[in-house]
Amino acid sequence: MEILKVEDLSFCYPGEKEPVLKDISFSVAEGEFLCLSGATGCGKSTLLRLLKKELSPKGDRSGRILISGENIDDLDSAEKIGFVMQSPDEQIVTDTVWHELAFGLENIGMKREKIALRIAEIASYFGMSAWYDKKTSELSGGQKQMLNLAAVMAMSPDILILDEPTSQLDPIAASEFISTVKKLNRELSLTVIITEHRLEEVIPVSDRIMIMKDRGIAHLGSPRDIVSRVGDSPEILASMPSAAQLYHAVDGEGQCPLDVREGKRFIETGFRADHTALTSEKYTHSEEKALEFKQVFFRYAKETQDVLDSLSLTVYSGEAYFILGGNGSGKTTALGAASGLLKPYSGSIRVFEKKLKEYKNNSLYSGCLALLPQEVETLFLSNTVREELIDAYEEAKMLPIDVDTLLDKHPYDLSGGEKQLIALAKVLSQKPRILLLDEPTKGIDAVSKQRLAEVLRLLKKNGITVVAVTHDVDFAAMCADRCAMFFRGRVVAENTVREFFSDNSFYTTPINRMTRGYYSGAVTVSDCVELCRLNGVRDGAAV
């Protein structure tokens, strides 16, 4: 049965000449899991907001939206439609977990006893009993987003709409979140409509995928069908699973692989393995040490545990050094210590062979070292991008985006990727010789990620040392010279990027997993494509 039907929907924001959405028609069946994708600015979020009356943007709307056959304007949708947004923090309204769960139910005037039962049910279902009494400010990002989902689910909606819910989460929390949504979909027959940047997780669980382009629907159909049809638009392809990217890069035919298992089969049945490895030059670093940690110990408070536990590492000048590791492994803390924001209680940190303490009066930050924080919004001071870039226009000019079209916008109104690049330009205007990046790919789409990788390559060419902390193994594989794995406040493995990922079994790229035991040293899609081309198609294989 159709639970949602959209007929000829067009929408135009006030003051804009061009509509954001034009003649959109589709319907969603009850219990369906629909994934919505498209380049940034294609109107995904606008469409989602139009489906939720309380959040509908103001503007000219034509066409009809029917929910269970009723027009959306005649309906109180607070209970019927749940909506989860991007940022975990700002969606939380109250100070305690239990109050947050009860908030929506209080709003609709539910009786006290019924609320007590409902939130007991929800807390048990989501496994939240252990943190039921906690303050919301004490939760981790993943827990916060799970709480937002639980708080929406407490109102038992028929349709759940999620607008890039995992973009601010680390991969482990993100995949836990997606599997919880899938569980709700399966067990409660809940209708789910979701948008995402990273489709690797969502595609396998979706029933249908809708790709938006040029203000309308470009494709709508089953995942496999859609994935094999998007080869012609690089923007959309970039967000697809690695297996699908590989399939398109080698002009594959037949069934398109969606995950690692199918990707492995695709490679092994399709291509020969006469050459198992790429010949690559041996990586050599310069002799100058750009950043050196020597047995550094750090903890946040006297009674707590060491976050950096005898950390020693060396980054050489001109290289891209990527630090990977789970939550709480001390990655971000290490960056804080390197930038002089956190003071270790023992050990020494040297930047260009000079102790941090010897950089007096902020001389460290002028022309030497700069940190791009995780939340780049903390860098913005002005009301327009133009003012923001007053001292950084030159740097902004070399970015792979058209800065001039953004100049009059408010920095908060930019997309995640644009924000990241503008902030990077600001940081670069301080002319650092060593640039620290904290989770540079958080909250940005696949295309922006490629742009960022381009910028990093450019910086390396200019001799700037880059030290980045990330959860994003694909990004590290694309950009790094050397990688280090952090665990419990120290480096447990450190190697050049190919060797690093080839030695890891779990913490590695999907491409490396697909080619394991068949090819060696392939970590990115382009590595694998090169290897496949080198080897050639197997006789009689349908590729």
Binding site: E54, I92, L371, T378
Partner: protein
């Protein structure tokens, strides 16, 4: 039965208001002494960290406030000695001691109160007046840590790109103003998201109900009734018993009726101690059977 801290917060608040009210406003050393005894016993009983510091602090505070009165007030007929030609009188010394004891006692009660009442409970008590007030307070409590955390991040982000200098005072002020301006923009911007999140969950659609994790049990009513009756009885029965400090000390003798009044207040003041002692004994007994 429950420990005193687990009673319904409204009953507990009422209890503290009445006990400290009598201590503060009924100027009677016997009340103060009884109240002091109850407060100290309860504090000792609850234990916890920093006990010793609290007692030492109280002792010092007692001596300082007790000393100040005779130095500034020279009323009274019994002159003990002179400092710089100013008479120090026995009456002023005794009044000073009485006042100091009262202040120390009230502080003991306050610290016990704040130890029992966490933000959830305070919110519940204030929210009893209006669900709207409860929500506003809850949101404020949510925003304060969020804001201070954010402020810290902005500051370090600005520092690490060399924009925030704290070398000298003008730089520091300029930096501070800048951080504040970012924070304002951010708060307004993020406020929109929070507002969306609220209306998406039906805020403002109709009459709100209110969910709290606290309930009223029989013993909560009992505590309220005991508190009100004991306070009324003790004030009423001791109304004719007036202490006079100035110009000369007058301690009228205590009648049997007065004594009953003091006993009533004593019962009230010792209620938490008796309650918790009983709980402790009961718990030990129950545990011995596990």
């Amino acid at each position: 039965m429950r420990s005193f801290a687990e009673y319904n917060p409204i009953a507990v608040t009422l209890y503290f208001i009445l006990v400290t009210g009598v201590t503060m406003f009924v100027s009677d050393p016997i009340f103060t002494a009884v109240s002091f005894l109850g407060a100290v016993l309860f504090t000792l009983m609850r234990g916890g960290e920093g006990q010793l510091k609290r007692h030492i602090f109280s002792l010092i505070l007692f001596f300082i406030t007790a000393l100040v009165n005779p130095l500034v007030s020279h009323n009274g007929v019994t002159v003990l000695f002179f400092i710089n030609d100013n008479p120090i009188t026995l009456e002023a010394v005794i009044y000073g001691c009485f006042n100091a004891l009262m202040i120390v006692t009230v502080l003991y009660w306050f610290s016990a109160f704040s130890g029992i009442m966490d933000s959830d409970k305070l919110l519940y008590v204030f929210g009893a007046f209006s669900p709207k007030v409860a929500l506003v307070l809850s949101m404020a409590l949510r925003y304060i840590p969020l804001f201070s955390e954010r402020q810290k991040r902005v500051r370090s982000a600005q520092t690490a790109v060399g924009l925030y200098k704290d070398g000298n005072v003008p730089d520091r002020v300029r930096g501070g103003v800048r951080v504040f301006s970012i924070m304002t923009t951010w708060a307004l911007e993020k406020g929109i998201v929070t507002a969306d999140s609220m209306s998406a969950r039906g805020y403002g659609q109709g009459r709100r109900s209110r969910f709290t994790p606290f309930r009223f049990y029989f013993c909560d009513f009992l505590l309220i009734i005991i508190s009100v009756i004991a306070t009324a009885v003790s004030v009423w029965l001791t109304a004719d018993h007036k202490f006079v400090f100035y110009p000369a000390l007058q301690f009228p003798s205590v009648t049997v009726t007065n004594l009953l009044g003091y006993a009533a207040y004593g019962t009230l003041v010792l209620f938490p101690v008796i309650n918790d002692l009983k709980e402790e004994i009961r718990w030990r007994y129950l545990r011995s059977k596990i």
